[in-house]
């Protein structure tokens, strides 16, 4: 019972944040609402017994990626997004599309994927087991992703580096 209450509360927070992300016209507000979404998602993970995932969600997503977003928003000092006729059209199409789509999906899921109950802490999401899995079964994907990250770093440096450095490199 408590479980369901927690779920629905944070689920609502989630959805609210997502909607807010769409509604807000200023990127920084969108970013903050996205952070809210992520935080409440972390709680959902906790409810699902995946506490390690939850922690990583907070650290990586909220703590690193979103900081990066906020940083860029601040750096480029992005202002309100101005309306264009394309935007109005897409609003007219998009919003109903979203509603229809999500309702449809919800209906399908609820009707088709029976009602198995997910009990809290169903499995020990303890770091140890995950580590076992990650470094034995998924070793190759792990290494590959690490290489992916390396490449991403290089790409970011190359892309963001100014053609003529105004000051000694290292400054972001």
């Amino acid at each position: 019972m408590l479980h369901l209450i927690l779920f629905s509360v944070f689920g609502l927070v989630c959805v609210a944040g997502a909607i807010n992300l769409l509604v807000q016209s200023h990127p920084i507000n969108s970013a903050l609402s996205l952070i809210v979404v992520m935080g409440s998602l972390a709680v959902e993970y906790l409810l699902l017994g995946a506490e390690f995932v939850a922690a990583v969600q907070v650290i990586v997503y909220a703590g690193a990626i979103m900081v990066l977003f906020v940083f860029v928003i601040m750096l480029l000092n992005a202002g309100e997004e101005e309306r264009t006729k394309g935007s109005r059209v897409s609003l007219l199409i998009g919003i109903p599309g979203m509603i229809i789509g999500s309702v449809l999906m919800a209906w399908i899921l609820i009707t088709h994927s029976g009602t198995h109950a997910v009990e809290a802490g169903a499995l020990p999401g303890a770091p140890r087991e995950i580590a076992q899995l990650l470094f034995h079964e998924f070793l190759l994907p792990f290494e590959v992703t690490s290489i992916l990250v390396l490449i991403a770093i290089m790409g970011a440096v190359v892309l963001a580096a100014r053609p003529e450095p105004l000051q000694p490199e290292g400054k972001c």
Binding site: E44, A50, Y61, E82, T84, A106, L133
Partner: protein, 100 residues
């Protein structure tokens, strides 16, 4: 106890929001955030299924998704910065030459 489908519905809604954001927002950064939103929705369903079928691998996949998201965010934001340098705007409607 919460049925699995609820989690899936939640993730579906998040995903739909992400898609919509991607379609209706004008600001590149916001569009990017919509992508992150979609990824989060997917992650939620991953974790839910993991809990449902007692398969830790679901959670492992979440990590991979996160890593990919991080990499993507890094490169994407770098691209955004580069675009902004040349275009002085973040409005995708004005960035329509498909080249810097």
């Amino acid at each position: 106890m919460v049925p699995l489908s609820y989690y899936l519905v939640l993730s579906g809604i998040l995903f739909a929001c992400g898609v919509t954001g991607f379609l209706i927002k004008r600001n590149i950064i916001t569009i990017f955030m919509s992508i992150e939103l979609m990824l989060n929705g997917v992650n939620l369903s991953f974790v839910a299924f993991a809990a449902q079928w007692h398969q830790l691998s679901g959670q492992v996949f979440v990590f991979f998704v996160m890593v990919v998201a991080a990499a993507e965010a890094t490169v994407g934001l770098a691209i955004i910065i580069a675009v902004f340098r040349t275009r002085e705007t973040l409005n995708v409607d004005q960035v329509n030459l498909l080249k810097l």
